[in-house]
């Protein structure tokens, strides 16, 4: 019988260990304005947004020495997954105080979990930011995002290769996609170098083409606008033509894409201006690059030579213990410090969407890497002319469907049929 008791004892002890925890009492917060505060931030790029955040932390340290910023490197895909997992399990204590969010995911995340984010209405002067960036982070009249980097696109060109083909950099300004293909053929013929490269499975070109025409994949009422969307049809047609004519080289993934830029496999790339950081990483190509604006559609009248790709904004999480400190931090750094932007621009190419920063003389400095072109001044100019679109809640669903349509069109499927399937699949995912 004694043995029985021991066994029971072990069981009881074991189960208490299993169910232990959770019984700790919460201590009342002591309000002391100078008590040390740590704000945790999730963002993903050590050369870019992590660097910018650390510089911002240094600036805020001078204003409020008791606030420490703890940056945790979290790749975007992981960040999105952690966010959804924690929010759906109501385990928000694992979440940071501030996150960086891709522009095209803000709507989806805020509409699915509206209580998870702090509206910044009136606490940060958003009128000082580029309007299209503010709109991206505005949902039902509430402002959630502090715009960070600019996604304005440009054509980043290898000056030397283009000139070897008998062309000038200025030949690429204010042109149409048709003209771009013609020029690409000349470059390929004269130098043997492909004009441009893109990741095979990604619809990056169609997306930036859509925005250049002020169109997106949804109607005003939010319903999918993919089938019979003339801009989308034209975008797929041109992308296919670029690949088939040999002007555009398809690569399997992002690393291979960056490699084509850095090892001289291609003469140009068209992407958000944040790509300049990766271009400048290859120091041996110093002086060989230049920037022109983005091609437009020849037969779509709303199309302009400006578009946007990527870009992100800071958001304050509702689970933060110090939301006011977090907002104040953002207001005095990313939303109020010219010095911050002056520091981060030359080293990281983080082009501000905070307009007062663009008046800083740093932006007008000729950049040696780009052969003395004042590229930041040019890019800020492009940013001001980017057509405004609403990415919508179902952006990732639609983007994936277009990626698939594009790959089917490349394999020979009719464009209308591919877009019809895409429309059907997006509608399926939008239904419940």
């Amino acid at each position: 019988m004694k043995k029985m008791l021991y066994v029971l004892l072990v069981l009881v002890l074991g189960s208490t260990m299993l169910f232990a925890g959770g019984a700790e009492e919460k201590k009342a917060e002591v309000v002391d304005p100078n008590a040390p505060i740590t704000l945790t931030v999730w963002c993903w790029d050590p050369m870019f947004n992590i660097y910018a955040m650390e510089e911002a932390a240094k600036i805020y340290k001078d204003i409020k020495p008791n606030v420490t910023i703890n940056v945790v490197e979290t790749p975007w895909n992981d960040l999105q997954q952690k966010l959804i997992t924690s929010l759906s399990a109501n385990a928000t204590e694992n979440l940071p105080d501030i996150i960086l969010m891709q522009d095209n995911a803000i709507q989806k995340n805020v509409m699915t979990y509206p209580e998870a984010y702090v509206p910044l209405n009136g606490k940060i002067d958003l009128s000082q930011f580029a309007q299209f960036k503010v709109d991206v982070g505005t949902i039902d009249g509430n402002h959630y995002g502090v715009p960070f980097d600019n996604g304005a696109t440009g054509t980043f060109l290898r000056r030397d290769i283009v000139e070897k083909a008998g062309l000038k950099v200025s030949d690429f300004n204010d042109i149409t996609w048709e003209r771009f293909i013609e020029l690409g053929k000349i470059v390929k013929q004269k130098t043997g170098v492909s004009m441009i490269s893109t990741v095979a499975n990604e619809p990056d070109f169609p997306m930036l083409m859509l925005q250049s025409a002020g169109t997106w994949m949804f109607n005003e009422d939010g319903s999918a606008y993919i089938k019979d969307n003339p801009v989308l049809k034209e975008a797929l047609r041109i992308t296919k033509e670029m690949v088939e004519s040999g002007v555009c080289l398809l690569v399997p993934d992002w690393n291979a894409y960056i490699a084509t830029l850095n090892n001289g496999t291609v003469a140009s790339t068209i992407n958000g201006c944040w790509i300049s950081g990766s271009i400048q990483a290859e120091e041996s190509q110093k002086g060989l690059w230049a920037v022109a604006n983005t091609p437009r559609f020849a037969n779509i009248s709303s199309s302009v030579n400006y578009s946007s790709q990527g870009g992100s904004g800071w958001m304050v999480m509702a689970n933060s213990k110090y939301p006011d400190v977090a907002i104040d931090f953002l207001a005095k750094t990313f939303g109020g410090s010219v010095a911050l932007y002056e520091t981060i621009l030359p080293t990281s190419g983080a082009i501000a969407t905070w307009l007062p920063a663009a008046e800083s003389p740093v932006y007008a400095t000729p950049i040696e890497f780009f052969g003395g072109q004042k590229i930041y001044e040019d890019l800020v100019g492009f940013a001001g002319k980017v057509p405004n679109v609403k990415y919508g809640v179902f952006n990732y669903e639609a983007r994936d469907a277009i990626a698939r349509a594009l790959s089917e069109v490349m394999q020979g499927t009719d464009i209308d049929a591919a877009l019809g399937t895409a429309q059907k699949n997006v509608e399926f995912l939008m239904s419940e």
Partner: protein, 292 residues
Amino acid sequence: MAKSNLTRKINLYGWLFVIPAALFIFILNFYPMISAFLLSLQSGRGNNLKFAGLKNYARLFEDEMFLTSVGNVVTYLVIQVPIMLLFALVLATMLNDPKLKGRGIFRTMIFLPCATSLVSSAMIFKSLFSIDGIMNTALVGIGMLSEPISWLTHPVWAKFVIILTITWRWTGYNTVFYLAGLQNINRNVYEAARIDGASASRQFFSITIPLLKPVILLTTIMSTNGTLQLFDEVRTLTNGGPGIATLSISQYIYNLSFMYNPQFGYAAAVSYAILVMVAVLSFVQIKVGGKR
């Protein structure tokens, strides 16, 4: 009287020892399964879920992407599992030969792929089959190809690379099961067969395969189960592309939960669809192959 008391006491101890394990299995296995089933009966986005009955299960049949992913996985299954198991069987028979020198080294080498992580093996295959990878260089070099193939962006070749990767990774694992099975077969049986004049292939088909039947059944069920839940390799190699030509069911569940607006209810229904498929296929395999 005394005896039945003892039996009862032993039974009681037995139960006491079983309870902790049973408790853990219930909490860690059955409870999530039950709550996933309850989740699959709800529809909505994020945490705004409401009861919807079997609607999610009805939706499965209208979902072209789900059906494509099932088609992809069935393709992997039908091609890859028989090839892999045959390879494993042949390798195991060869390794079981008592006259073979350096058996230990061969066994280690054949099992070694299983010790690598799924993601790193997929990464290695990805670089082998990249445009400027060793495969293209070699095949162009010996003149089998006139120009490099973009393996991972072509709907058919991408499937081929995925099948190759899984086969490389899992053949050694199954070989170990067969080796263990073979060692349970009495050598005398083979000796008697040899004396009767049976050839090596006759011995393989008439002795090895029938006597290994239970092990073959086990490995078939395990491989079927594993392939239906395929995730890491596809996600690393192609991310489901080009388009959704290589998408696996598990990756579709991932997309529904984390890439798109989260539809956890529907995602749970898709995972229960995998469960049903595994159950049905295993049942068929046991019925067909399990007769003793």
